[in-house]
Every structure is written in C-alpha cells, then in structure tokens.
C-alpha cells in the first residue's frame, strides 16, 4: 500500500471501525444476497443436472401434443391446464402415436433403443389397502433405458408385454404403502378389474424420472392399453441415443419419421413434440435465470440503499475532516488529490461490504447445500466466479457513484476556510 491515496483512505477507514461496519452493512446485505441467490441457483442447477443424468442424458422424448395451429382454440377450453397443448393433460386425446412409430424410430441411425408408454390413473388394491396411483404402461425396453434399478425381483420381458401378461413392477413407496413389511414379489395386486402379479420392486429413489416418485406402478404397455384403457395409442416414447452429441440431428429424424407416419406436411399441424434433454435443460435454465434475475433485482434495492448509506456517511466524514482537508491543501494537495482520497475511501468502504457480503453469501449457500445434502439431494456447493467478480465490481462502482459527490465537496473546499474551521 505504498500509494499515498490508499494510505490516507485506509487511515480514514480505520479511524472509526464501528462506523465503518455500520456503513458497509447495507452493501454487505445486498452483495450477500446476490451471492446467496447465485450460489443457491447453481446448487439447484447441479441438482437438476443430477436428476437428468440419472434419468439418462442421452435421451430424446417424443410426446403427443396438440398441433400449434389448434393451440389457441384449445387453450380457451382448458385455460387452467399447465400444459395447454399436451394431450396428456388435455380433454382432447391425440390418438396418432402408435407402437409402430416406436419401431420405426428404432431404425433411425444413432437410435440405440426406444420404448413407448401410456399413463393411466387407477385404484390399486392389496388386501384391504387401496391407493389411487399412476399406472405407467411401457414396453420392456424401459428396463434397459431407464436408469431405475429393480432392487427386488425383475422387470417384465417382451413376451410378457406382447402376451398381455398381468405383471407389475412397483415403486418403492407404493410397495411399502400396500405391503408394509411383507415382501410384495409373488403377491397379487388388483388394478381395475384385473389381478397383477408383482414381479419386481424399484430401489428407493432409483429412478429420478420426474414422473417417478416411488408411487408409480409399471406394467406392460399392451396390457394397459388393451385390458384397462381400451386404446391403442401411446402418450409418449422415450428414445435412447448412441451418441448424445448428435441429439439435435436425431431429434429431427424422429420428427421426420413421425410426420411421415402421421401424414403431416405442415409443421403447424404436428401432433407431437420432440424434446431432447438439452432442450428440457435449457427450458429449466431459462426459468431459473428469470427467478435469479428477479431475486438479484430485489437484492439490488439493498445495494442502492447501502450506497446511499455510504454517501451519507461520506458527507459526515468530509465535514469531520474539514480541518484535515485544509491542512492537506496548505501542504500542497491539489483538488484532485483530495477527490481521489475520498473516492478511494468510499470505494474501500463498499469493497469491505462487498467482500464480507461475498463471504457471508457463500457461507449461506454452503449451508443450503449442506441442508439439501442432508435431505439426500445431489446438491453441489458452487459460487460462480463471475458472480464474485460481478459483486466486487458492483460494490466498487457503488463506491464511485455514491462517493463522488461527497468527495467533490471535499475537493472544492477553500483551504483557508477549511483550516479556520479546525
């Protein structure tokens, strides 16, 4: 710190430590909040990424969807729906996605495997216990593609699927709900009007498919379609890729196959939607960014309030040091020397607030990550470097912006008037 401006400014900052602390409190809170929000956001992102990885990152999902051209019409009918154009949550079912589409998709280069699925909600009963839950009908390939691990028993085979076998694999939670301490494998549960043999139970949280929270039951898709739902169409198909880097090209191939099979020439009339995991992630990213932006905007109010606090105190400090300013001018300090000294002091004040805020915010984000990990979530503790750089720059800029007026006041003081006030 050989720079005299720094030396003088630091002397000022050190002269009244409790006031320095209180002055910088607003900046600390503001910067701390920004860092906390960024850290928590990054942690949440790491959690979502882990989810996606568990589900399989080399995955494309094609699902039935109302054509965009009819979206406006349908959304007025079901304005409360969160997915206005998803047939799964819409009163108008799309019936065009069939098992032969899945077979054709399997022939696309870079497609390793695929399964079709339908979903229904049914009451499931074992002895006197009943639960209403989602029934996932899937082809057997699900057990190869999905990362879910069957802890107890087995999945079903192609023959069982095609043969309309009444077999079921239970999520861990529904298994516990229905069977308590009994071993479910080999027992029968009643789904609708049929008895299904439980052949397997998923490991706890084995599949992190957002639709798989442990309460689901997986049965052969053909059985669900023919015996329970009385339909022959699918709601979605999950496609596994050889090479995820070609996901965009492959998803276009999937679109081509589906358009050809569904006799669609106008993209506006697509009755399906193909989404790569990358796209899902970017959708999620957009939402997260919006939330982060909002929270940072709120934290910025604290920064501005903090800046005004710094300005206020700088005015007090200038008044307090009028005699000193006069002396320095008498000893040859130019106006700009005085200006720089006060400006640097203001910047140091805000930087102290910034650094303490960064440490505090990072500690907060660390605590959140520890709590999340305590709940068993894959939550990393990340404070982005750009966030730190941004915070330091923002606090320095606040110092300049809110310090310049008091500093100019100090610089413009007449030396003799300043000396006389001593």
């Amino acid at each position: 710190m050989s720079n005299p401006y720094f030396k003088q400014a630091i002397r000022g900052v050190k002269s009244n430590p409790s006031r320095t602390f209180l002055t910088t409190l607003g900046i600390m809170i503001g910067i701390g909040t920004v860092i906390l929000v960024l850290g928590a956001g990054e942690g949440f992102k790491s959690y979502i990424n882990a989810q996606v990885d568990a589900f399989g990152s080399n995955i494309i999902i094609a699902q039935t969807s109302l054509p965009p051209s009819t979206k406006a019409r349908s959304s007025t009918n079901s304005s409360s729906s969160s997915h206005p154009n998803s047939s799964a949550s819409n009163a108008i079912p799309i019936t065009t996605l069939k098992m032969h589409d899945v077979e054709d998709i399997k022939n696309i280069p870079n497609v390793k495997n695929a399964y079709g699925a339908s979903i229904g909600q049914q009451v499931v009963t074992y002895k006197n216990t009943s639960k209403t839950t989602l029934i996932f009908g899937s082809s057997f390939a699900r057990f190869d593609i999905d990362k879910g691990v069957i802890a107890n028993g087995r999945g079903f085979s192609d023959q069982e699927d095609k043969g309309l076998a009444q077999v079921a694999v239970l999520g861990d939670k529904i298994a516990t709900d229905l069977f308590a301490d009994e071993n479910p494998v080999g027992k029968f549960v009643r789904v609708g009007n049929y008895n299904f043999e439980v052949i397997g139970v998923y490991e706890k949280k084995s599949s992190l498919d957002p639709t798989n929270d442990g309460t689901q039951i997986v049965i052969p898709v053909t059985t669900l379609q023919k015996k329970i739902q009385g339909i022959d169409y699918l709601i979605y198909t999950v496609i596994q890729l050889e090479d995820n880097s070609k996901a965009d090209v492959t998803s276009l191939d999937v679109v081509d196959v589906l358009r050809r099979n569904h006799y669609i020439s106008d993209p506006a009339k697509d009755d399906f939607k193909v989404q790569t995991q990358k796209e899902s992630l970017s959708t999620f990213d957009t939402i997260l960014q919006a939330i982060t932006f909002l929270l940072i905007a709120i934290a910025s109010i604290s920064l501005i309030v903090g800046g005004v606090g710094v300005m206020n105190i700088m005015y007090v400090i200038v008044t307090e040091r009028i005699g000193e300013i006069g002396l320095k001018k008498a000893l040859g300090a130019r106006n700009k020397d005085i200006l720089y000294e006060f400006l640097i002091e203001a910047i140091i004040l805000t930087l102290i607030g910034g650094v303490v805020g960064i440490i505090g915010g990072a500690l907060g984000a660390f605590a959140i990550s520890k709590i999340a990990q305590g709940f068993g979530l894959t939550w990393k503790f990340i404070v982005p470097l750009w966030g730190i750089i941004l915070s330091v720059s923002v606090s320095a800029i606040i110092g300049i912006v809110f310090g310049v007026f008091p500093a100019r006041n100090a610089a413009k003081l007449n030396p003799i008037e300043a000396l006389n006030k001593e």
Binding site: A330, L331, G332, N335, D337, P415, L419
Partner: protein, 237 residues
C-alpha cells in the same frame, strides 16, 4: 525580491455584506529575510499571511512571487507552489491524528511531483528539529513542543524557500516555545526566509524586521537592530 505585494485588497463577502480586511497592502520581502508581522486580533495579519502563503487569493492587487505575477495561476499551480516553495507552521500544530511522526512529516511529499526518497527526506527533516529518535511515535504520544517541531520538520521536508509560522508558540509553554524559536532562527541562518505572524512582541523580536498591521493597513515597517533582537536557546524537554 522573493515576495512583492502591490496594492493587495481582500474583501470577504458574508452573505451580501462585504467586509474589507486588507486595504491596499504593499510589502516586499527579500530572499533570506526574517520578518514578523504583528498586530492585534482582527487587524488582518492572518488574512495577510494566508494571502502571501497562497492559501487565499487577493480580491485586487498583484502578487509577484519570485518575480512572477501569480494572478492567473490555476488552483493546481498554487497548490504546487504551496507544496514546493512554502512551508507552513500553525499555532495548533495540525498534525494528522493516529499517524506516526514519520508519516506526518512525509505527508507533503505525497503531494509532490518528486516520488523518490520520501522516507529519507523526512528523517533528515526530523533530525534537523532534533526528533530523529521519535520517528515511529504516534502524533498524540508526544508533547506539544515536540508536535510543533514535527510540524516544522513537515514544513521543511520539501525544502521550501519560505516558512510561514502563524503564532508558532501560541499553544506552547515558554521552554518549548523557546526551542521552536531557536529552530526558526537556525533555519533563517541557513538561508531560509521566515515570515512569522504573532501578536507577542517578545516573539516578534526574534525577527530582523517587524511589520505592524492595523485595520488592514501596514502602519509601521521597521528593521530591528541586532542589539534589540531576542535570541532563544534550545531547551531540552
């Protein structure tokens, strides 16, 4: 002529009421002189010193410093003159609090264009006032007399031509005051111009010439014969 004041007028504007403090002062100071400006309080002697010391600009009149008219000098140019050519010693010492003796003396060097050898120059200046052993003392840990000697060292550190001393003994006991005056005399003997402002005739009699000011005008300007001068000795404290 080092300092030449021609018809210097200084008005203070106090919310529309204009007070004339200096009424056309003419004064010349040669290089190496030791002059005392005396007068009662309110006579304008401080204003005169501030004007000569470039702390304030005259309302009217010309001020030639080293033969140059300073009328059109910018604030920065005046700051540079104060830094390089003038050293100030004030009645209340005006040391920076919570700062070492050495750093206090180095302060004018911070604002100088010469960026080298600051610490050495400050040490030399402190040796000259007999405080070479107090470098790391805080400014509030030393006696009043020592404070004023630090202030003199600070005035000396940029090697100025003129030293302005405004009631330098006003806040000191007689022993400390004596030491301070002894140092000023020594500096004058070494060739520096000393301009002393005081209301105390005993202090003024250290000078070689006394200028008396009353109601903003110089009423008397007389040399002091060597036989009438007072000489102080350094007294250890």
């Amino acid at each position: 002529m080092l300092i030449e004041l021609k018809n210097i007028v200084k008005n203070y504007d106090n919310g529309g009421i204009i007070t004339r403090v200096l009424h056309g002062v003419n004064l010349g100071v040669e290089d190496g002189e030791f002059i005392a400006i005396i007068g009662p309080s309110g006579s304008g002697k401080s204003t005169l010193m501030h004007t000569i010391g470039f702390l304030d600009r005259p309302t009217e009149g010309d001020y030639l410093f080293n033969g140059e008219n300073t009328k059109d000098f910018t604030d920065d140019e005046l700051a540079r003159i104060r830094n390089e050519r003038i050293g100030f010693v004030f009645q209340s010492f005006n040391l920076l609090p919570r700062t070492t003796v050495l750093d206090n003396v180095m302060l004018p060097l911070f604002y100088s264009t010469n960026k080298k050898g600051h610490e050495h120059k400050a040490k030399v200046a402190l040796e000259a006032v007999g405080l070479g052993d107090r470098l790391q003392f805080m400014s509030n840990q030393i006696s009043g007399g020592q404070k004023q000697r630090v202030a003199i060292a600070r005035a000396l550190v940029c090697d100025p031509k003129v030293i302005f001393a405004d009631e330098p003994t006003g806040n000191l006991d007689s022993k400390s005051g004596s030491t301070v005056m002894h140092i000023l005399e020594k500096l004058n003997k070494e060739g520096r111009t000393i301009i002393l402002v005081t209301h105390d005739m005993n202090v003024a009699l250290h000078a070689k010439r006394i200028v008396t000011i009353r109601d903003g005008e110089i009423v008397k300007d007389q040399p002091i014969p060597e036989s009438e001068r007072v000489h102080s000795k350094a007294v250890s404290d």
